[in-house]
């Protein structure tokens, strides 16, 4: 009984539908946000912001995007990085070609362009399902990468398609420092995280899950399969597009199309497998895992073997460990880290009893 819920009565429908129904959960979440927004900017250093926190947040958002498509709507995709690239390059062009457009607005527009492209590449999903979807999503991955590399208009004629971040100005304040970039990323990710959570709890989210679990049955009870699938592709690509803008402009600063290659798509897929398919929290847990594990491994290697391990070999070992972890998770905990957290919460609720 680490926390008790007795005495907390729900007296309105609104309270019953809220995301955090318990006082403890509300308090915990508020504290978490307060720490993230207020405490971390004071105690964090540049390394933490630039190398850990920002990529963690951006990858979480990207994973939310993919999770809506794959985890909730059940449409397998290995082209997520392509939609990130679309978002990043569209945002760059909007900012470049429209005088005085605030960069937050260009991120948003970039997201909409990505959603449109996602819609187009989602069209084959109306006729096919399952593994066959690998085809169109791989088509998106390779085709978009090729377009962005080959047509230099998209990168304002820079060499090899490299784009550079605009100055991150909000209302005259420069947010280009690591702390500023962290705060922008955090704000956007938290806002879109709430949006995603609301979507998956809404009627639309339930339609997604119905289509995932059995599309024929969903059609029988009157859910429009084509509308649902296309919306899943569009929403997913929208979130991925904004994640792409953040990846390019608040995390890396400069990026080329090959920064969004197939490896990145797989990385995002691994995040949702490890974090938990069909969970919003899982994306954050999975992203933290994926960002921290390589750092942890290289630290362990440098402590144990003091630099005698060749970096190439370390990468191989890392690959093997990732592979083992994925299989381990699929066998032991197919719902991922999110499920482990839920089990823990349940245990804490009834502790010290078993049930």
């Amino acid at each position: 009984m680490l926390y008790r819920e007795s005495g907390q009565f729900i007296t309105s429908y609104a309270a019953d539908r809220s995301i955090f129904r318990l006082k403890q959960e509300r308090l915990g979440f508020t504290l978490l946000l307060a720490v993230a927004f207020v405490v971390v900017p004071f105690i964090g250093n540049d390394y933490w912001f630039s190398a850990i926190l920002i990529p963690f947040l951006v990858l979480s958002l990207a994973a939310i995007g993919l999770n809506i498509l794959t985890g909730y709507a059940g449409q397998l995709s290995v082209g997520s990085a392509a939609f990130m690239a679309v978002g990043a390059f569209a945002a760059y062009n909007f900012h470049l070609r429209i005088e005085g457009l605030p960069f937050l607005l260009s991120f948003l527009l970039g997201g909409f362009v990505a959603a449109l492209v996602g819609l187009v590449f989602g069209l084959p999903s109306l006729r096919i399902k399952g593994f066959y979807l690998l085809g169109p999503t791989l088509a998106a991955q390779f085709f978009i990468e090729w377009v962005l590399t080959n047509f230099s208009w998209f990168s304002n004629n820079s060499s090899s398609g490299v784009i550079t971040a605009p100055q991150l100005l909000i209302a005259g304040h420069d947010f280009s420092t690591p702390v500023g970039r962290y705060l922008i990323t955090l704000l956007i990710v938290v806002a879109l995280g709430f949006l995603a959570k609301s979507i998956v709890r809404s009627e639309l989210g339930r339609n997604f899950m119905a289509v995932r679990d059995m599309d024929t049955a969903a059609a029988v009870i009157g859910i429009s399969i084509s509308k649902t699938k296309l919306l899943a592709f569009a929403i997913s690509a929208f979130l991925l597009g904004i994640a792409g803008s953040l990846w390019a402009f608040t995390y890396l600063g400069t990026v080329e199309p090959h920064g969004f290659d197939l490896t990145r798509s797989f990385q995002i897929l691994f995040i949702i497998i490890i974090g938990g398919m069909g969970s919003i929290l899982g994306n954050f847990l999975g992203a933290a895992f994926i960002v921290l594990l390589p750092i942890l491994l290289s630290n362990i290697a440098s402590i144990l073997f003091a630099g005698s391990v060749d970096p190439g070999q370390l990468e191989n070992i890392q690959k093997i460990i990732f592979g083992l972890l994925i299989i381990f998770f699929l066998i032991k905990e197919p719902l991922g880290l999110a499920k482990i957290w839920q089990t823990f919460k349940q245990r804490a609720r009834v502790w010290p009893l078993r049930f």
Partner: protein
């Protein structure tokens, strides 16, 4: 016109090389419904093992046998530690498991044998010869012949032997197959071992063509449109799909490429396959699924 036919034939022969990889997929998909993403890494693993043994001056046939043995051990390990615990899970879970598997096998191959590029010479003369004024690569012809023999042998295996018939029963209905006393685990081991063997053959041919290196594991991606066009469950379809993909991508690169900027080979097969799916969602030879709630 000669040039057109040269490109076409070159493409068709290259397509058969894709088919070699695709056949490995089809075998496993037919028998267990698993979309085996690790096929590409198995190709890399076998080719790397073989070439490294060869470089340590092990005779050709001995290294071939050792590599084959390694692939058998790998197949056994995969059946025992990956497939068996995951039996009865949704196909998407199994696919992701093979994704993890591909990471393990790739990492293992490179950790053991190193990441440098190895040349592989199978002793096949690669001088093109001329036929009716068209230049044809001998190596490609040899690869095509190997692919043809494999297809015939595998088709016979599937239709004539007891194991093959059992495999088809498993593909039709796992539960029913179990009920009449077919040993699922033994069959899975067999089919992964055969896929490993096909992977070894593909690895040798592709390795001789491109050099044995990491990018070998990426040909798995090129096999995908081949499968989509041919259907996931048909060996003949894999060959037909390979021919279509090989020919169309080479023709597109040569005749359309110059107008919109080169390098369209990289994405053309996928776009073609996606368009194809709109017309025939189950591929040319694939089985149309009948659904009920």
């Amino acid at each position: 016109m000669n040039f057109f036919f040269e490109v076409l034939i070159g493409g068709l022969l290259a397509g058969l090389m894709y088919s070699l990889v695709a056949i490995g997929f089809v075998l496993i998909y037919k028998a267990s419904g698993v979309f085996n993403f690790a096929q590409g890494s198995m190709v890399l693993f076998s080719a790397l093992t073989f070439v490294s043994l060869l470089e340590r001056s092990v005779p050709f046939w001995v290294s071939f046998l050792i590599t084959l043995l390694t692939m058998l051990v790998l197949a056994w390990g995969i059946e025992r530690f990956v497939l068996r615990p995951l039996v009865n899970r949704p196909p998407i879970t199994l696919f992701m498991a093979t994704l993890g598997l591909s990471y393990i096998v790739e990492g293992l191959a490179q950790a053991v044998w190193g990441a440098q590029v190895h040349g592989l010479d199978l002793g096949i003369n690669d001088e093109p010869f001329e036929l009716f004024g068209i230049l044809i690569s001998q190596f490609d012809l040899f690869a095509a012949a190997v692919a043809g023999v494999l297809v015939i042998v595998l088709s016979l295996l599937f239709s004539k032997t007891r194991t093959g018939i059992a495999l088809r029963a498993v593909a039709d209905d796992q539960l029913a197959a179990l009920a009449i006393g077919i040993k699922l685990q033994k069959l899975w081991f067999i089919v992964w071992a055969v896929a490993g063997f096909v992977g070894l053959v593909a690895g040798l041919l592709w390795g001789a063509r491109l050099g044995v290196q990491f990018s070998l594991s990426l040909i798995v991606l090129k096999a995908l449109p081949v499968l989509i066009i041919g259907g996931f469950t048909s060996i003949g379809g894999a060959v037909a799909g390979g021919l279509i993909i090989g020919a169309s991508e080479k023709l597109a690169e040569v005749f359309i490429g110059p107008y919109i900027g080169g390098g369209i080979e990289n994405w053309f097969p996928y776009v073609l396959a996606s368009l194809f799916l709109l017309v025939r969602p189950a591929g040319i030879f694939g089985e149309r699924a009948i659904e009920r709630v």
